[in-house]
């Protein structure tokens, strides 16, 4: 063996050293750090401008509550976008699930926990079913995700309208409204927020610590490589879209607890808001990169902006403008990063391909 021990032990040393900064690297790797700084900057600015209105427990609670439902939607969307997919149907699936759930709970007539939990189960199942349909069409029928979910976005909302005749349902179990919608943990933390945080925790654990999560990144990073090592791509994609549907179902159930009614007409912009937040949070539309933590931060930004603008008396429509700028900036940063990565390894092709000009020249040298 020609490998000097000196070299190999240094290699090992390097490997071990590099592992020790792994946590920090992992965070910066998902680019969430920059976005945390952006969020903190916004918070500081508003706090300075309106010290006794913005940074109050009351206002922070309101911000968190307004973010909760979006964040739950964002969990599933993060998974989907990491696979280089997209899910436009989440708002409609939220509506559909909340309508079915409210109808079942209404028919059960009871107002207790049993009814509420059955309603939860129904909402989750209905969301999962839509997710399955999306995933099946994307993976098996090979229809682009944009089109599939645009289709189910229309279909789910249409069906919800057909079922209800377009009239919102108001018969929601009291416990749900009292405890989920407006209850607090330790008297201060809204249960809605606790529920969303819990869902994020589960989502984050699955994404970052399990084989399923790793496969999700891999599928978005290089589907061909996954196929070659035998990843069951279709099954995985279907599962990922089912996660998105299920979180939309959960969000539907949370929304009827919070609004004390279904919101058939109120969700048309939701998917765009959520996708924007997830992308601002550092999840790459090209796949392979993203984190639940980043998505939470990215989804907090619009809500914080809106709250701050209202408090300092700027028309809150400015929020949309600022978010638009952030969104484009986030995608710009992402695509710059991708270009840099490609250049960094000495090649120019669009997606980290191996081969090209250099290969040909070395081949010729060989034959000479």
């Amino acid at each position: 063996m020609s490998n000097p021990t000196k070299t190999s032990s240094r290699d090992v040393q390097d490997m071990i050293e590099s592992e020790q900064i792994s946590i920090i690297q992992r965070i910066s790797r998902v680019q969430a750090l920059q976005i945390v700084i952006v969020l903190l900057t916004i918070v500081v600015i508003f706090s300075v401008m309106a010290p006794d209105a913005f940074l109050t427990v009351f206002n922070l609670r309101a911000i968190l509550m307004n973010t909760s439902i979006l964040v739950v939607l964002g969990i599933g969307v993060t998974f989907v976008i990491i696979t280089a997919g997209i899910d436009l149907s989440i708002g409609s699936v939220l509506v559909f699930s909340s309508v079915i759930s409210a109808m079942v709970m209404g028919n059960l007539g009871a107002t207790g926990w049993v009814t509420a939990l059955i309603g939860l189960g129904v909402a989750l199942l209905s969301g999962a079913a839509w997710g399955f349909l999306n995933g099946f069409l994307v993976a098996k029928a090979q229809v682009p995700a944009l089109i599939v979910t645009l289709g189910t976005m229309g279909a789910a909302l249409g069906l919800a309208r057909v079922i209800t005749g377009g009239i919102d349902l108001y018969e929601i179990p009291e416990v749900m409204v009292d405890v989920i919608g407006f209850g607090n943990l330790f008297g201060e933390v809204p249960n809605l927020v606790v529920l969303a945080a819990f869902a994020c925790l589960i989502g984050g654990i699955v994404l970052h610590l399990t084989r399923f999560g790793l496969t999700t990144y891999a599928v978005g990073s290089n589907p061909e490589a996954c196929r070659r090592v035998g990843v069951k791509m279709d099954r995985h994609l279907i599962a990922v879209y089912m996660i998105s549907g299920t979180t939309a179902g959960l969000a539907g159930w949370m929304s009827i607890a919070y609004f004390q009614q279904t919101s058939i007409g109120g969700q048309s912009l939701t998917p765009l808001l959520v996708i924007a937040g997830v992308v601002i949070g550092g999840t790459s539309l090209f796949g392979g990169i993203g984190s639940i933590f980043g998505s939470v931060i990215g989804l907090l930004i619009p809500v914080v902006l809106q709250s701050g603008f209202i408090i300092i008396g700027v028309e809150s429509y400015w929020q949309d403008v600022v978010i638009g700028v952030f969104l484009i900036a986030a995608v710009y940063v992402d695509s710059r990063r991708r270009q840099k990565a490609a250049r960094g390894s000495g090649r120019k092709p669009k997606r980290f391909q191996i081969g090209g000009v250099q290969g040909k020249s070395s081949k010729k040298e060989g034959i000479k």
């Binding site: 690297q25 084989r211 891999a218 035998g230 191996i354 081969g355």
Partner: protein, 251 residues
């Protein structure tokens, strides 16, 4: 008896006959080079023997047993791995994650059943594999997409070496690499061979082939036309056999 013997392999693509009754042999602990002009059928042979393509006629035996690989997983379960020309790495995953993609080590107990990975075990084992091969992979936690071509190649080779117990196919592994990186890959190939694995190398570089291969098998228009001992061959001879100019002189 060779480790793997392929006899009378036929594979057509429409009217194109990619393999026209080709034979091929792989010996354990040897580097077998597979050479031939463009379109001779080299890649097709490798794809068939690694399970990514199917043959129409012929017979493959592995250690004397008849085998048919319906998919790459079947070949892999027999200890056969391939280093693809495009490397087939996930650019956003780190070397450890790439090494273990779809074969992750699970935690023990309930956590394992829930799909939790044992990242520490995976990393420790990867360090072992890379050190063992003398591979130049320095950062185990950086996405391979940010690494140099040579490092990516090392990761791809190490992945195959980590999982192969019998055979590794290399389809033009050095085509995209510079001089130093090429030397590194040839080094890796030797180390893999020294572990007793049968290595198959497709390459267009005759000096490279002569340098690293033990035997050289030549394909021409879908048939094996020569098996050459590399120790007593020259670039001129190889080129001659490949193009058919030396037909008469080779058995």
């Amino acid at each position: 008896m060779a480790l793997l013997e392929a006899r009378g392999m036929v594979r057509t693509y429409g009217s194109v006959v990619a393999l026209d009754g080709a034979d091929f042999d792989i010996e354990a602990g040897q580097v077998t080079a597979l050479i031939g002009d463009n379109g001779a059928g080299k890649s097709t042979m490798v794809k068939i023997l690694s399970g990514t393509e199917q043959f129409e006629e012929g017979e493959v035996t592995l250690e004397g047993q008849r085998v048919v690989f319906n998919n790459p997983a079947a070949a892999r379960s027999h200890g056969i791995e391939t280093v693809f020309q495009d490397l087939a790495l996930c650019p956003h995953l780190d070397p450890v994650e790439n090494l273990y993609l779809n074969r992750e080590i699970k935690r023990s107990g309930v956590l394992g059943l829930l799909g939790f990975m044992d990242r520490k075990a995976m990393r420790d084992r990867s360090v072992e594999v890379f050190t063992d091969l003398g591979a130049t992979v320095r950062k185990l936690n950086e996405p391979v997409g940010t690494m140099s071509g040579g490092q990516k190649q090392s990761v791809a080779v190490a992945r195959s070496a980590a999982w192969a117990s019998k055979i590794i196919f290399f389809d033009e592994p050095t085509a995209a690499l510079g001089v130093v990186q090429t030397a590194n890959v040839l080094d890796l190939i030797r180390r893999v061979r020294d572990k007793g694995i049968g290595v198959v190398l497709i390459s267009h570089s005759m000096p490279e082939v002569l340098e690293v291969a033990d035997t050289i098998q030549v394909l021409r228009r879908g048939r094996r036309v020569a098996t050459i001992n590399s120790a007593d061959s020259t670039v001129e001879e190889l080129v001659g056999v490949m193009t058919g100019k030396l037909d008469e002189e080779v058995a």
